[in-house]
């Protein structure tokens, strides 16, 4: 399954990808027919995980997305985002240098874990509760599906272009 041994990641590569996740989460989004928006933050997190591996993916996904929440007016969600997107990046990162079934399934687990962590976390938030968590379930699931498709697709395109 393991195709090649990767070299250690430099600190500035982690910072660069954190900025990518931060900017993409804050500014790249498309309107949906339902009236809401799909933002590309999850695409960037899955992509960063696949590029950097588990530790890089966890740091970049968690910190980049939490910073985007703080700067974008969603600071109330930032601790939960740190955890949810951190795990999303971590699980995606496990798929780095993997091929076949493992490569396709791990980012899927990553985005499902993100939806699950948000749902459970929001239930325990006094300002959101179960009702608010249910309200967030659909948009988060749309984010998860888009994040999975976009992240894996982007990684495939990027690898081909970079080669």
């Amino acid at each position: 399954m393991e195709s090649k041994k990767s070299e250690p990641i430099k600190w500035y590569t982690v910072v660069s990808f954190t900025v990518v996740v931060l900017v993409i989460t804050m500014f790249a989004r498309i309107p949906l027919p339902s009236g809401g928006y799909f933002n590309f933050g999850d695409v960037a997190v899955v992509f960063a995980g696949l590029m950097l591996g588990k530790f890089g993916g966890a740091i970049v996904g968690g910190v980049g997305s939490a910073l985007a929440d703080i700067l974008g007016g969603f600071a109330i969600f930032s601790p939960l985002t740190l955890l949810a997107k951190g795990f999303e990046g971590l699980f995606s990162g496990f798929a780095k240098n993997k091929t076949g079934f493992i490569f396709w399934i791990l980012p899927g687990i990553a985005v499902i874990s993100m939806v699950g962590i948000y749902f459970v976390g929001e239930i325990f938030m006094p300002a959101i509760k179960l009702q608010g968590a249910i309200l967030e379930l659909l948009p988060n699931s749309i984010q998860a599906v888009g994040g999975y498709i976009g992240g894996v697709l982007l990684f495939k395109i990027y690898s081909r272009v970079a080669d």
Partner: protein, 208 residues
């Protein structure tokens, strides 16, 4: 900065866990926080933030009412009144928390963060992040204009279902372009920062 953080943290804890059942206090606090927002940051900044959160709070009340109607037992008052009351309390806690956090966050500048006496290994991360952010924000807007010139991506009705795919692809290409750019800049600036640290901090420590 630390004082502000502690005040905000304690306010949020008190709001969420101590006065979370008192509707008049929550309403009064919201009026006070909104007034402070208006005074310090003006109406434009407030409404930009409030637009999303007020809509979310109203949806939250609606879901509470819906839950109250479906799961109606054990309330002293009518189900509708009780669920509306609970929904309003939660919505007020949410709005107060969001605005209190934003009042603090908007008061912090990057210079405040850089002025904290952090070790150089953490400070260099902040410096690179700030530099990359400045570069990328200008590039992001330029790229957006360039992508909109490409015939396949000239989409008029953006919220139509058939246009989702080209818009999705357009954004993927945009992300890829940005990634190449930021990664390249990081690879240039990162070693330069490391180099400067070696030649200033280490030389100073050695007394040269």
């Amino acid at each position: 900065m630390l004082g502000g953080f502690l005040t905000t943290f304690i306010s949020v804890i008190v709001l969420n866990y101590i006065i979370n059942n008192n509707l008049p206090i929550l309403s009064g606090l919201l009026i006070l926080v909104v007034l402070l927002f208006y005074i310090f940051y003006g109406a434009k900044v407030f409404w930009k933030l409030a637009k999303f959160w007020i809509k979310f709070a109203l949806f939250l009340i609606a879901v509470f009412v819906l839950f109250g109607i479906i799961n109606c037992n054990g309330f002293e008052r009518s189900c509708l009144t009780e669920s509306f009351f609970n929904g309003s309390k939660t919505a007020l806690i949410l709005l107060n928390t969001v605005f209190i956090l934003e009042l603090y966050i908007l008061s912090i500048t990057i210079d405040d963060i850089l002025s904290i006496n952090l070790p150089i290994k953490y400070l260099k991360v902040l410096i690179l992040m700030r530099t990359l952010m400045n570069q990328v924000l200008a590039k992001f807007e330029n790229d957006k204009i360039l992508f909109n010139i490409i015939p396949e991506f000239q989409i008029v009705h953006k919220s139509k279902l058939k246009n989702l795919k080209p818009m999705f692809l357009k954004n993927l290409i945009h992300i890829m372009t940005l990634t190449f750019f930021i990664k390249e800049q990081g690879e240039i600036l990162g070693p330069l920062i490391d180099n400067r640290i070696i030649h200033t901090h280490k030389t100073k420590a050695n007394g040269k």
